[in-house]
């Protein structure tokens, strides 16, 4: 794989937002993920949300862990600094970055392996601390880059591409985030831009720990025998010149449905997800109510999506630590160093 530059030219009549930026100004490099990957749809939604919010693109810091999802910050906001850090450790890196400069917008992008397995602890503690961030988990229930092992969000009883049945209980990150005190909790589906874009925009606007779990189908390791787009089918019709796994791209799943209904969405592999849109009278300010609602629907095999909880008056870590308004990374010796006169006094007290 090599680096792919994206051409910069665009139509002169392209629409501009309040700051005069076009959609293209929020784009990044060309994605190297599988064509049709749900993650690319999330990337598109992030671009859309930032464009609509008229955020200065370079005032966002994009931080990720390791995995397919964690590569995506390279594919949006090309004029922002990004940090593809260490597997499962995005939350700590983001926390540190946030402490250094409270004036930037922090976008944490992670996956289900990154956040629910290796980084479960860091996920939990960054939420607990109330770091001002938008924490997005691109959740496909599978380890894509290492070719299809179950992740901790895979449902019990589900089958892997190799036919193995998952016997471990699933972790619902949304339920955990609610329990840990996240002040903005939402779930969405990568194919549902109508729902996702406003959720991301609202999360960015929220001060405090915002968490969005985005169900994002893996087209590579979520297909099944019998499909004409399956691995075996492609191999049989492929004139192989070397040993490669070839995947056929398809359009990202698109879904749009009315509030208050349950919709069954068929994934690429033919499995079904029941999506329940939150009722119009749902109270998103009731943490306990959200937890009950979530549990009740999970028991019925339904995945609740939408904004589940928000505390509009939340405090963030900087408030807990009572830090100065000026970003810490701009402070210099004149304000940080107590100087030699103070040191002389310290010396005197140590005799």
């Amino acid at each position: 794989m090599t680096y792919i530059a994206k051409p910069k030219f665009h139509h002169p009549g392209l629409k501009k937002n309040d700051l005069g930026y076009t959609h293209r100004d929020y784009e990044g490099k060309i994605s190297t993920l599988c064509a049709g990957c749900g993650h690319d749809s999330i990337t598109a939604s992030i671009i859309e949300a930032c464009y609509e919010l008229s955020i200065e693109p370079h005032r966002v810091a994009k931080i990720s862990g390791i995995g397919c999802s964690s590569k995506t910050p390279d594919y949006f906001l090309g004029n922002s600094h990004g940090f593809n850090s260490v597997h499962g450790r995005m939350p700590s890196v983001l926390t540190g970055a946030n402490l250094a400069n409270r004036d930037l917008i922090y976008l944490g992008v992670s996956g289900d392996g990154d956040s629910a397995s290796i980084g479960f602890g860091q996920f939990a503690h960054s939420i607990r601390r109330g770091v001002n961030m938008t924490y997005i988990v691109e959740n496909n229930g599978v380890y894509g880059l290492t070719k299809g092992q179950f992740s901790a969000t895979a449902d019990r009883g589900s089958k892997s591409k190799k036919g193995v049945t998952n016997t471990d209980n699933a972790i619902d990150l949304v339920a955990i985030a609610l329990q840990l005190g996240a002040t903005f909790v939402a779930r969405s589906f990568s194919g549902d831009k109508t729902q996702l874009v406003p959720l991301i925009a609202a999360a960015i606007r929220h001060k405090g720990a915002s968490f969005i779990d985005v169900i994002s189908p893996c087209i590579a390791f979520n297909n099944h025998a019998g499909s004409t787009k399956s691995f075996d089918y492609v191999r049989e019709h492929n004139d192989a010149v070397n040993r490669l796994d070839v995947l056929v791209g398809r359009d990202p799943i698109a879904v749009d449905y009315a509030p208050g209904t349950v919709q069954m969405v068929e994934q690429h592999d033919g499995s079904k997800i029941a999506l329940r849109k939150i009722d119009a009278d749902y109270d998103p300010h009731d943490r306990l109510g959200a937890q009950t609602f979530l549990a009740r629907h999970a028991a019925k095999g339904q995945i609740v999506t939408g904004l589940l909880y928000v505390d509009p008056d939340a405090e963030d870590l900087h408030e807990h630590l009572n830090t100065v308004e000026t970003p810490l990374n701009t402070l210099e010796a004149d304000t940080l160093c107590p100087g030699s006169a103070v040191l002389d006094k310290i010396n005197a007290s140590l005799r």
Partner: protein, 615 residues
């Protein structure tokens, strides 16, 4: 009368207190050490404590040393035996002719003593119980009562102790007067019932000068305040926790905005060492000066991030307060055992900068310098302390700061520089020193952004798996490490009076014991040139020193001679010429140990001592 002449010594002896952890003895013992300092006599105290909060044995050793030998000496001239659990071992450890001080309230069988020592019994419990009724008071004041008795036995000036009590309980009159009362209870009993003073005596002197008495961890934390650290993330681990605690205390005093009361720092107690170093890396990536403090097990956990810091070139400062490993090892005992682990931390080809302060003064200085170095070299800087320096009060020169000093923020490309059209390649070596420019996130709307990653990339931070691109980057990193040689503190050399073929290399907390050992060795006729290494990568003077000597002893506090391995590895020299002198039982190395080990080796080489040759 003992059948060995009692030791007679003024201002040169070792007192060891054997206590039970959690009995409140620590402050009385520390006051004893400080009181001797107030006599103008240098002391070197050491806590020898268990990994426990209450109940297990603990010792506090005070070396009284007019000559200023601050290393551990070995041996005990006077044992203050307050712990029945360790009585037999404590009594056995007294030097022949030494003194045993004990609580004589309960009679002890004669078999519990020795014939060759002076036994001094003071009915501490009886005195305490007849004066105090509250159990907690009885326990605490018993410590002050033995301090009073000792002051009489050792001929100390009680006024100096009263002065210390006055400073400690300033504004708490009730505590102040009751402590002074307890002091005199013990002192008066001793004066009335015992022969005072004994052979060990403290006599007023003027050998302390303007030196200060401070723990290395506190000094390092103060160095971080002066060095401009704004973010500290840490996870509690002995013996490093007091670094972060001291940093918190210092910041509360010196880092709040006088008008708004807001903090010009952020301290986070992480959920583990992984989070701590992650926070440090994130903060440093974003342009703040950040550090963590930890010990061996924490280093093991942090290694993946340390590799990222090396490869993605993100500044970080890690203070490693070393303790005896491997694994949990001896958490409350000292060693210099993480040299290799830190020098080459992480998978893949990595090398890291290590600083080796010898005492709290250098810990302060190097801690502050570490932040300049981290930002200049854009990599992890390890401040390699150990428990011996970190958790003991050490007499050292006063801390100094030059007010004209500005922080060296390293090569940072600003918005203005980008607008001037400067070519920005995050991993582009524009100056030939291997150090590229970086930009802080949020610098410029259209220029200077890049994607930081642990994967291979080209000079412009673009992902690449091309072999030549990867190799180009690895070579530049090597070049950068070579540049670091001239930026880090240089070794200090001290030559013997006469030219010699023999040298000795040492570092860190070994310093005071080494200085003292040189005197002992010279007395035996052995001349040695000394080189104190203060940093890795090694300056070229290390190679010169090796070339100038037939044999070089490398003195260190670990089993495997880790610094020696590093020297051999990095200088490609014949290992036979480097003789390991290793001490690794968890106690601080002593001059006696070094002098014996080197002396024996010299004898083995059949060296004719210079003194004999000329006589």
């Amino acid at each position: 009368m003992p059948d060995k002449k009692p030791i007679s010594s003024v201002n040169d002896f070792v007192v060891r207190f054997a206590n039970v952890n959690g009995s409140g003895s620590a402050s009385a013992n520390e006051m004893f050490a400080r009181a001797i300092l107030r006599h103008g006599v240098p002391v070197s105290p050491r806590n020898i404590f268990p990994s426990n909060i209450q109940g297990l044995p603990t010792w506090y050793e005070v070396r009284v040393t007019e000559d200023g030998h601050l290393g551990a000496r070995g041996g005990v001239d006077m044992m203050v035996a307050m712990n029945p659990q360790t009585w037999d071992k404590d009594v056995a450890g007294i030097e022949p002719g030494g003194y045993l001080f004990y609580d004589s309230t309960k009679p002890m069988p004669s078999t519990k003593f020795r014939d060759d020592i002076t036994v001094i019994g003071v009915p501490l419990t009886a005195i305490t119980n007849s004066t105090y009724t509250d159990p907690r008071q009885r326990q605490l004041f018993k410590n002050i009562i033995y301090l009073g008795a000792l002051s009489a036995l050792l001929d100390m000036d009680p006024k100096l102790i009263e002065q210390l009590i006055g400073e400690q309980y300033k504004g708490k009159e009730k505590l102040l007067s009751s402590n002074v009362h307890a002091l005199h209870l013990g002192r008066d009993w001793a004066l009335q019932n015992l022969k005072c003073p004994i052979g060990l005596r403290v006599k007023k002197s003027d050998k302390v000068g303007d030196r200060i008495f401070i723990e290395g961890n506190s000094a390092a934390a103060l160095g971080a305040v002066y060095g401009g650290a704004t973010v500290c993330a840490w996870y509690p681990i002995t013996p490093s926790s007091s670094v972060a605690e001291a940093f918190t205390a210092h910041c509360k005093k010196y880092r709040h905005d006088p008008e708004t009361g807001k903090a010009k720092y952020a301290i986070v107690q992480g959920e583990d060492e992984l989070a701590s170093i992650g926070i440090v890396i994130g903060a440093s990536w974003n342009g703040a000066r950040a550090f963590t403090a930890t010990s061996g097990p924490g280093i093991s956990l942090m290694t993946e991030f340390i590799g990222l810091s090396y490869f993605a070139e993100i500044p970080a400062v890690i203070m490693n307060i070393q303790r005896a490993g491997p694994s949990t090892g001896m958490p409350t005992r000292t060693q210099q055992c993480d040299i290799i682990a830190c020098a080459y931390a992480s998978h893949g080809d990595t090398k890291h900068v290590l600083l080796f302060p010898e005492d709290p003064a250098e810990a302060f200085e190097f801690a502050a310098a570490a932040f300049d170095l981290a930002e200049r070299i854009q990599t992890t800087i390890f401040l390699m302390l150990d428990l011996d320096i970190g958790m003991n009060h050490r007499l050292c020169r006063p801390l100094k700061w030059d007010d004209a000093k500005q922080y060296d923020r390293g090569k940072v490309m600003t918005s203005e520089m980008l607008d001037e059209g400067r070519d920005f390649g995050r991993y582009l070596d524009v100056d030939g020193d291997g150090i590229p420019y970086r930009t802080y996130p949020g610098t410029h709307p259209t220029k200077g952004s890049y994607f930081t990653r642990g994967t291979s990339r080209d000079r412009y931070a673009r992902y690449s798996e091309e072999g030549s691109v990867y190799a180009d980057n690895m070579q530049r990193l090597m070049r950068k490490f070579e540049t670091a040689q001239d930026l880090v503190p240089r070794p200090l050399q001290a030559n013997a009076e006469r030219p010699t073929k023999y040298g000795v290399i040492y570092f860190g907390s070994t310093s005071p014991a080494m200085d003292e050992a040189i005197g002992l060795l010279e007395a035996r006729g052995h001349q040695l040139d000394r080189l104190r290494i203060r940093a890795f990568p090694f300056h070229s003077s290390v190679a010169s020193f090796l070339a100038e000597h037939d044999f070089v002893y490398v003195v260190e506090q670990n089993r495997d001679g880790q610094l020696r391995q590093l020297i051999v590895n990095e200088n490609g020299i014949d290992p036979v010429r480097l003789v390991p002198i290793v001490h690794y039982d968890g106690s601080p190395i002593t001059a006696r140990f070094i002098a014996k080990a080197i002396g024996d080796h010299q004898d083995h080489l059949k060296v004719t001592p210079l003194r004999k040759a000329v006589s």
